[in-house]
Amino acid sequence: MNLGAKEIMKQTRAVEMGAGLFVLLGFGALFFLITQTTGLSNEIGNTGYTINARFENVGDLKIRAPVTISGVTIGRVTSIAYDPERMNAVVEMMIADQYRQLPDDSEAAILTAGLIGGQYIGLTPGGSETWLEQGSQIEFTQSAVVLENLIGKFLSSVGGGN
């Protein structure tokens, strides 16, 4: 008589087992997508300190573009704005907390990753003994290279050579 109840129990257990395995596999896949396809270095989150820099021309730079030093991503661009008084662009970037010791005379340049890659900010460390802090401004900057200007210069220099 108990066989029926047992059979149902067995069936229920198989269903629970299947559903459980499915959900675990699903969670595993979600975990895989979030950790293995995205660079964690992309996500420095909201912990960090903000510094800014002024550029004549930011070119194609976008919010969330990486900030690197020696090729290592240490932060992200958080905002890009135009300052009408000083007539240049102000770029704010958030630097991860573990990179506290950046010399305050470092130089920031807008660079391009590969021929068709996006633009990013490359920092070159200076020699100062004091560090950049929350709200500091980088004095030395180098604007984005605009291809049209470059070609124009090249053409005029070729023309001048003649």
């Binding site: 269903v15 559903a19 499915f22 959900v23 596999l25 699903g26 979600l30 997508l33």
Partner: protein, 258 residues
């Protein structure tokens, strides 16, 4: 002359009425869903199994081949720009943001949605739902809601599994067959895919899960109680789900990106 005008008007009226009916049906489900989830978790688990685990075969097979096609096509296109190393980025972004959620929803409606619609439709046609009402059991709470919730829970997981296996498929073709550098495949992907991209896909899959499950149980529940009516309900499930999912996909993409 007036005849077809009348017909158009009636058609529009019928459409508006069914949208209203569907909305009320959804509210009725939504109100009692939390209670069902808490009081009768066993019923929901069984439906997660039916809609989720039982859809694994189609999801894994289709996912693998969609990924392999992406690998092949992506390689062919990117190679023309000398950018074949971006294959990982290309495949992953296409999958997590667009193809994964949409294709999974369409496959779900073909496999699990039709099963739900015909199951509920047959229950209606064989008086099982009426018998439940006679036993003072609300068929919406006992039959419809667990099936709806099962689908809603299963969809994000199915989508994630689809994406994972598809990325593996793209990797298989791109790296193993076409010779894209393995390190570049992953590092480019890591550099360009963000958690926000993945989240966009997750949000879509949640919405599609609600839509596909709702339409399936609705079509089954409102089907004409005959063999023909049940058949028509399953067809309508796939058609309405496909249309709604694709329209919603555009709206969601526009909202999430814009």
């Amino acid at each position: 002359m007036n005849d077809w005008l009348c017909e158009i008007r009636e058609g529009i009226e019928a459409f508006v009425r069914s949208v209203g009916e569907l909305t009320l049906f959804f509210f009725n489900i939504a109100i009692y869903s939390p209670r069902t989830l808490v009081r009768r978790p066993g019923l929901v688990v069984k439906q997660v199994f039916n809609s989720g685990a039982m859809s694994m075969t189609i999801i894994l097979t289709c996912g693998l081949f969609v990924g392999m096609v992406l690998g092949l096509q992506g390689f062919d296109t990117l190679q023309r720009f000398g950018a074949e190393e971006a294959l990982g980025t290309f495949a992953t972004l296409s999958l997590v943001k667009e193809l994964g959620p949409v294709l999974t929803a369409l496959l779900f409606s073909g496999r699990a949605g039709t099963a739900l619609a015909s199951e509920i439709g047959l229950m209606r046609a064989t008086d099982q739902l009426a018998a439940m009402e006679m036993m003072a059991v609300d068929p919406v709470r006992r039959i419809v809601i667990p099936r709806f919730l099962g689908g809603v829970i299963a969809m994000p997981f199915l989508t994630a599994i689809f994406n994972m296996i598809a990325i593996f498929g793209a990797f298989l073709v791109g790296v193993t067959f076409m010779g894209v550098d393995q390190g570049a495949f992953w590092s480019q992907m890591h550099a360009n895919v963000t958690v926000a991209d993945v989240n966009q896909g997750v949000i879509k899959s949640l919405v599609f899960g609600i839509v596909a499950s709702l339409l399936a149980v609705y079509q089954g529940y409102t089907s004409v109680p005959t063999a023909e009516g049940v058949g028509r309900a399953t067809t309508r499930t796939v058609v309405t789900t496909a249309i709604t999912v694709l329209i919603l996909d555009y709206l969601l993409t526009a909202t999430l990106i814009g």
